[in-house]
Subunit: 367 residues, 2 copies
């Protein structure tokens, strides 16, 4: 019997579907878990609503993923404006089969001048991403990922999201089953022992760690949902970006492809498809139109204005920071004249701006 390293670990390994990409297409991902993995700041516009699509932001996602800047020889697309008002026909949530990276596929259709005159529908502000209530997220320590032991569950976390243990047993222990994004089930022994007493996941843990190739610094996320199911997600640390295998298409062609696809769709008012990868992309590039209109026309952004901005903490909760806008400029005025995809200078926040540092104002700032 021959087994690959990860499959060999496999006593507790779930069966892999025969053709992952096919079942991937049709399986409906658990939305709750997807949003938890994407993080509290990521929301997806509602299907049917009108959105603004920024090719420049989309381009930044490709740059961030391929680790290559766009080069000079990019053709001009005179018919492609810096932002495109679109109808959002479809949104589906996905997870990469290899890495569990979450991403969304969206079908957009640029609106004709006629359609642009339609009044707003009330739903267009987009429903905020509902984060689950019964969940916890922990960044893995060296001990958690070493081959030498199991997973140390923070006490409050275990009490909040795991089913209660039967403390009449000695030691108290139970078996936990958790489903990941692909619907695969993972089995863990949950035990409460040691001096002082603590919650641990032992048997099954190292199989999970090695199958998902998790290392110290990555995070795991447990959710106890309303159907009394345990869900299990992961978030990898931002380790020098996943180098996307570009052995098939140059990154230049990718940039051109995204621009040409948008330009073509704009000129023919036809549908096009994009992928939004919230943890790879520096910022959101598909924004609810209503949110944008509110920010631009009702609250003009200007130097000196006070703002607040949301950030994600290590434990996946949200923190607010206040600041003042000290400068505004277009990032690439030659290529994208009058783009609202602007770079904003803020006071004293440089250390916070790891992700989203050139993020679209309308996605993250509140005024």
């Amino acid at each position: 019997m021959n087994l690959s390293p990860s499959a060999a670990a496999g006593g507790g390994l779930p069966d892999q579907p025969a053709s992952p990409e096919v079942s991937e297409e049709h399986k409906c991902l658990n939305s709750e878990l997807w949003h938890a993995c994407a993080g509290p700041l990521v929301s997806l516009p509602a299907v049917g609503s009108r959105v603004l699509y920024f090719p420049q932001g989309h381009s930044e996602q490709v740059s961030a993923s391929t680790n290559k800047e766009m080069e000079s020889q990019i053709p001009n697309y005179p018919n492609l404006p810096a932002q495109l008002i679109c109808q959002l026909h479809n949104v589906t949530m996905h997870a990469d089969a290899e890495t569990d990276e979450v991403y969304a596929q969206m079908t957009l259709q640029p609106l004709s001048p006629q359609e642009l005159k339609d009044p707003f529908l009330p739903a267009e502000l987009g429903n905020a991403s509902k984060q689950p209530t019964n969940y916890f997220c922990k960044t893995l320590t060296a001990s958690d990922t070493s081959t030498h032991g199991g997973f140390s569950v923070p006490r409050r976390a275990a009490e909040k999201v795991f089913p209660p243990l039967d403390f009449t047993q000695q030691p108290p222990a139970q078996e936990l089953m958790a489903k990941d994004l692909h619907g695969n089930e993972w089995k863990f022994r949950h035990i409460f022992r040691g001096q002082p007493k603590r919650h641990l996941l032992t048997t099954g843990w190292s199989i999970f760690i090695s199958a998902k190739r998790l290392v110290a610094g990555d995070s795991v996320l447990f959710i106890w949902n309303d159907n009394n199911q345990l869900l299990l997600g992961i978030r990898r640390a931002n380790r020098s970006q996943t180098v996307m295998p570009s052995s098939v298409l140059s990154s230049d062609s990718m940039h051109i492809g995204l621009l040409a696809a948008a330009a073509h769709a704009a000129s023919t008012n036809s549908r096009f498809t994009i992928f939004y990868n919230p943890r790879a992309s520096p910022s959101e590039f598909v924004i609810p139109l209503a949110k944008y209109v509110k920010a631009v026309y009702h609250t003009r952004i200007s130097v000196g204005m006070r703002f607040r901005m949301l950030f994600e903490t290590e434990e996946s909760s949200v923190r607010r920071y206040m600041g003042t806008i000290t400068g505004i400029s277009d990032l690439d005025p030659a290529r994208w004249p009058n783009s609202h995809w602007r770079s904003v200078k803020l006071d004293g926040m440089s250390q916070l701006l790891e992700r989203g540092n050139q993020g679209c104002l309308y996605g993250r700032l509140s005024l």
Copy 2:
């Protein structure tokens, strides 16, 4: 100290460079090993020569890699002909850092009508890929890849490519060092033992197998080159295509990107960059111009004509098959009128045509 599974295996593991993608750029890959991994049928046109670039074939490479056919909403590029005569400015050989997949990067520049009038240079037929002489390639068995043992070296192979053992020792054994495509060194114990006697690689073998994630059916390839160095390459089995993570860009955009990049380069006579991935691509799409001219103008392909075609055997040698052409048609006459990227019907060869079944005539057929 925390280590990922493969790194943890690491007693004999070579040091990983600090920033693999950067050193990758500047390191010169071993050409001999690259060609051996690419296979005996793959040749690269000479730098400076004139070549024919087929966007349609390039598109097929993307389809094969993403497992997605091109969809309907592709814009037209009226200025993009089915084939583009280009100057080949640069060719570099690469290997994917994750998978060791070999690919080539080429810089092409469409020729102006003026330049097209230049006479051929003698070198333009392209030098055939020189396959190394002292090498062997073996498809791994279940035993070779199991955690239970080492690698059984075919007798003739060991005698041909490994340094001779000292048979006065009991048992005869030596240490072998082999360099892979990235220049990393792997250390193996080569021993001649058992009843009956055989050549085995033991210590170091399973570290290599698990680091490269090889499974039964994949192949390994040892070369003893003229500098008395041992080189080591791998060829993965065609297992339902490597599903390329496309969580960043839709495959439609990739197709459009390649077409738009070529169209833009054609209209401005400027350089563009493509990747040719010989084992992912169904066929060659950059062909020496001289080869093409010879095939089209000197030997018109027609129904009834006898031909021979080269194929690769499991052991990486070349086998010839003879046949008769029974039909010729353009694959996609609507999109590519008068393309020479044709589909040829052949007699009784269906079972042979796993790869290259829609391959460019001029690359693989000899008349």
